[in-house]
């Protein structure tokens, strides 16, 4: 069950986590609780897999290059192919989607050459062709995601 503190931490600290020597203390001061309360609450959120981490979001293609990749894989082989692809450290997101192109993943590499090498290797290992969709423009301003955590 999420406490009021959990909800505040989830919704209010997606964007401007304090950049100070004692950030958890600063959060505690702002919310009128103790630093220990904040540390415990964050530990619980991590342990229960409600947050992936507290960290930076780096815009795509500022450091290295990335591309979305789509593949059409027969259903009975999908898990096996997906596992092979997920094993690449350069792959970060990997999802099944409802479409004939049913496997969608994101590859991040140091440069275009490295990206090409990863795609070639994946195509060779899985024997399915990969459709490469690099990002041309990013319209999104990431201000964090407003979670409605009531009535659950």
């Amino acid at each position: 069950m999420l406490s009021h503190l959990h909800k505040q931490l989830l919704n209010d600290y997606q964007h401007d986590f304090p950049l100070s020597a004692r950030p958890y203390q600063d959060i505690a001061d702002a919310l009128g609780v103790t630093e220990t309360d904040v540390l415990s609450a964050f530990t619980e959120l991590c342990d229960n897999n409600f947050i992936s981490r507290i960290g930076p979001v780096i815009p795509p293609n500022h450091i290295g290059v990335s591309a979305l990749v789509a593949m059409a894989v027969p259903e009975q082989q999908l898990q096996q192919v997906a596992d092979k692809i997920s094993a690449y450290p350069e792959v970060n997101h990997n999802y099944e989607r409802e479409h004939q192109l049913n496997l969608w993943f994101v590859v991040i590499a140091s440069d275009a050459e490295h990206l090409r090498a990863v795609i070639d290797s994946i195509e060779q290992e899985t024997s399915y062709p990969a459709m490469l969709l690099p990002m041309l423009d990013d319209f999104f301003i990431d201000l964090g995601f407003k979670l409605d955590l009531n009535n659950d």
Binding site: H93, R97, S110, L147, D148
Partner: protein
Amino acid sequence: MIDARDRQLLEHIQLGLPVCPRPYAEIGRLCDMPEAEVIERLTRLKQQGLIKRLGVIVKHRQLGYRANAMIVWNVPDNLIKQLGGHISRFSFVTLCYQRPRQPEWPYNLYCMIHGKDRATVLKQLEQLVNACGLSGFDKEILFSTRCFKQRGALYQNTALADG
């Protein structure tokens, strides 16, 4: 711009800030950097937009947002900036990109909607289509069914060594 020390710092912090009283000192220990320098570099990277945001990265699925749709449109190239900008202003949109069309894939505008269930996502999509004037363009809606891997962008070793 970003230098070798910045890269080293980002490499260590991207897996997550430790949950302990002095997390930046902890990160500093990992990359041999004083706590004050860690904070100063992160502040600058954020100001420069090389860190888009610093904070809690939530797991939508675990928090009850189980429906995720990627919607792709084929829109005229000369309208894409305007439409992309408009789409991005909706709070339920979590990504909005332009990508190149492919021989058997005519779509160039991508957006992502996270919602508690499919009905909500479809209702939000309808709202988006009406508000942005997207009804005349071909589109496809791709709901995700299984998540095989989800992790933050990992710019590691190779990615950060020399790029």
